[in-house]
Symmetry: C2
Subunit: 150 residues, 2 copies
């Protein structure tokens, strides 16, 4: 984390829940959860994380920035793929440890080539082993969009 | 965590992403993130967490169960308030560390009395201090619904 403190410090529950100050409760890892939904369809596109810098950049620019836990790096969505997210609206939840952004998604949000990362359904109420059911089609070829890993 | 292992063990990325086995990647805390959206409006109602038992109970019963990090306890949504969530559909994301449930929400999901926990908007692209804007009205009185905390 940088030394900059762009947001208010989280206070008592009443203030967090009923106040007008954005005081995100970053976890021990410095992150809040971010849910991105498709502004057009309402579908959940992805769940990712933001540190203070990613959140501040998203608010300032109206483009989605995240913090990649696996790469340990700040990341503008679409910087490699071109599949950017323009933020139409941002919300924060009651205890300010999660944000919801409604976005205009270019092409697809998922690195596997689908529109949404949530392309498999989990059948409910069936005893025994769960067998996932595919729902989303591939809309782009990830091999053409992402550079090869080694 | 209990000794029961109701789900497959997460394997290689290809299997996780393109397989039909539900193999949730529970974090070091034993939890996956769960996003609940309103099956009718598409709005995000809440972001919470599930351990293996909560996930298994949700799949088996079609009612949302969570694990409360603050209380350290399994929790059926609505068990105190009556504001249950019937799961219409469940999805899992590409790397299986998050689930999305579309639910029929009785009354409101938020303990503050709103339909959704995301009742405040964060204005975008405005320099200076962020001032949250209230969007959701109270639809129930939390004092009548939840027992007093000592």
């Amino acid at each position: 984390m940088s030394e900059k403190k762009p947001f208010a410090t989280p206070g008592a529950a009443t203030e967090l829940e009923e106040g007008v100050a954005l005081a995100p409760r970053f976890g021990a890892d410095g992150l809040v959860t971010c849910v991105a939904t498709d502004a057009a369809s309402g579908d959940v596109l992805m769940v990712a994380h933001m540190n203070a810098e990613a959140l501040a950049k998203t608010i300032a620019s109206g483009e989605a920035w995240y913090f990649s836990r696996s790469r340990g790096a700040l990341w503008r969505k679409g910087e490699t793929s071109g599949h950017t997210q323009r933020v139409v609206e941002m919300r924060v939840d009651c205890d300010q440890d999660a944000v919801w952004i409604k976005v205009e998604q270019v092409a697809g949000a998922c690195h596997t080539g689908r529109r949404s990362c949530f392309y498999r359904a989990v059948p409910l109420g069936k005893p025994g082993t769960v067998k996932l059911e595919f729902r989303g089609e591939r809309i782009f070829d990830p091999k053409r969009v992402y550079p090869k890993k080694d």
